[in-house]
């Protein structure tokens, strides 16, 4: 447990690690979400065009 306590600095160190994890995962998740949305929008538009043709 001492290793996790980090002296008296555990709260500071672990909050930085947790924040890094959250920000990196969130940034990557947003990128994946946007890619899916853009792809889907183009797909819907192209299929609508194809149906009209």
């Amino acid at each position: 447990m001492d290793a996790f306590a980090m002296g008296d600095y555990g709260a500071y160190v672990w909050s930085c690690v947790a924040l890094t994890l959250v920000i990196v995962v969130f940034t990557d998740w947003r990128a994946r979400l946007r890619h899916k949305r853009v792809y889907r929008e183009i797909e819907v538009r192209l299929k609508a065009l194809e149906d009209r043709e």
Binding site: A3, M6, D8, Y12, C16, V24, T27, R32, H35, V38
Partner: protein, 248 residues
């Protein structure tokens, strides 16, 4: 060599190559980060002055380094797009901005958390390093706001590239602020001899390389989305999406 380089500027070619390349950067990046985190948090000795609080360096320095690198990529790509009118360069610039903003925010937050036990304050408004890094975050926000405020992609590319190029001045200020002015923030440590234990430094370099690979993977994924959006009316996108196998 040059043929391969020129081919990369072709959107359909880049779209295909980046899909293959992105996981090849992400997987080693994540492995290095996992190894570096374990080394940095549990293996390397604590600092004789800062105790275990110094371990924040393993997330703070890679974030701060990437906040500057992302800006340089954004500004350089914007400049290349302006001068040589390479469409892909503007896509790279647009893709780098949100990642750069995320790492700048992270560098500011981890720096602030580190500052509390070491300096006795979360934030110091007169500190040149903190203020120039905060201005960097506002530059990223300004860049993204400017892009989204202009509907015409070509005009948005040009205007945002000019803003990014002007903002390079601030990158230089961020880097040299601890040398030019008196700052709470410590001076250059990583590349100076005798400032850090070799094991501490090795773990830090592992983290920097890991974060850089992960950044590369995230950047490629965002460029793919930009390319897809910008090329949405082209034949290759139509063929890719309507093909029986579909795209990704």
């Amino acid at each position: 060599m040059w043929k391969w380089f020129h081919q990369l500027a072709s959107p359909p070619h880049f779209y295909r190559i980046s899909a293959i390349l992105s996981p090849w950067l992400a997987v080693p990046g994540l492995l290095l980060i996992a190894y570096g985190t374990w080394q940095g948090l549990f293996v390397v000795p604590m600092d004789y002055q800062q105790g275990d609080a110094f371990r924040i360096i393993y997330v703070h320095v890679p974030s701060a380094y990437l906040s500057l690198m992302a800006y340089m990529i954004m500004a350089t790509s914007g400049g290349i797009g302006l001068i040589w009118r390479i469409k892909l360069a503007h896509a790279v610039a647009a893709a780098a901005a949100p990642i750069g903003a995320a790492f700048t925010f992270l560098a500011l937050c981890t720096g602030s958390i580190w500052g509390r036990p070491m300096w006795g304050t979360w934030w110091e408004w007169g500190d040149p390093r903190m203020m120039s890094e905060l201005i960097l975050l506002f530059l990223y926000f300004g860049y993204m706001a400017l892009r989204s405020a202009i509907d015409d992609t070509t005009k948005a590319d040009k205007a945002s590239a000019v803003l990014a190029l002007v903002g390079i001045v601030n990158v230089v200020i961020v880097h040299f602020s601890v040398e030019w002015w008196s700052s709470l923030h410590q001076g250059q440590t990583v590349f100076k001899k005798g400032t850090m234990d070799a094991d501490m430094k090795a773990a830090l370099f592992v983290m920097i390389i890991g974060f850089t690979l992960l950044f590369g993977s995230m950047l490629l994924r965002r460029i793919r989305t930009e390319v897809l959006y910008r090329e949405r009316r082209t034949r290759w996108v139509r063929e890719m999406i309507l093909s029986p196998e579909g795209g990704a």
